[in-house]
Subunit: 139 residues, 2 copies
């Protein structure tokens, strides 16, 4: 059994984060001392690691809450339940990547067109491009 500060240190997070996870139903200490101090067990520690690993692969806390409920009752769920969530998240990530790639491509185009020198911005190609409908069409 360890106190919140010890667990936080092991995990490399702040105690605030652990309390935040508790408030949001992700991780509660298995015991409290008479004075209210939180005490975390080895299983709590494992659960915390599970949470952090989920975060590491891109799941949101809402997703993780969902995964945790599968984790504590595996026999009521099947592989598909888990895999479908993983796939959904991957698709979500891929969509965000695609959006960012559009940004990147546009920015690269803008960079290419501009001399980037000490010349006055009076005739800057980037500003011009942002002024007209073109690569950056809005309507």
């Amino acid at each position: 059994m360890m106190q919140i500060g010890q667990l936080a240190k092991k995990l490399g997070v702040k105690t605030d984060t652990l309390r935040f996870y508790e408030k949001n139903g992700l991780l509660a200490p298995s015991t409290r001392s008479d004075s209210g101090y939180r005490y975390y067990s080895g299983a709590d520690h494992q659960r915390a690691l599970f949470i952090l690993r989920c975060k590491k692969v891109g799941f949101s806390l809402a997703d993780i809450k969902d995964l945790l409920s599968i984790r504590i009752d595996k026999s009521s769920h099947c592989c598909e339940d888990v895999k479908s969530r993983t796939t959904a998240k991957r698709l979500d990530v891929e969509m965000r990547i695609a959006e960012l790639e559009l940004f990147r491509n546009s920015l690269v185009e803008l960079e290419k067109a501009c001399c980037g020198g000490e010349e006055s911005a009076e005739y800057c190609s980037i500003l011009d491009a942002l002024e007209e409908k073109g690569v950056t069409d809005v309507n």
Copy 2:
């Protein structure tokens, strides 16, 4: 001259958005009627389009505020001022893409390992991977 609703419609945004831009110093109508109604000129419209095009290539409103100040006083700025901001934004976008690609790669690995079938999640490879230190190492 047009009212806020007309400009919003032309731009495909809400009137709220235009008021928000005004409050944040991005776009103010050049006139107000006696009763306080906002009236936007053609130049205001152009400025709004500039803003939306900047958004479209990935600039934040803070970035745009900065670009607008260059735009209204081009002679005091040079191409490099504009290009450096564009490059900084591209690098920023590329960093975000790199992070998301790590997520995607991890998720793809997880998906590969899991059968995704009707089997009980008792021995689900995804759950197992999230339980152990591995691809998803946290410490």
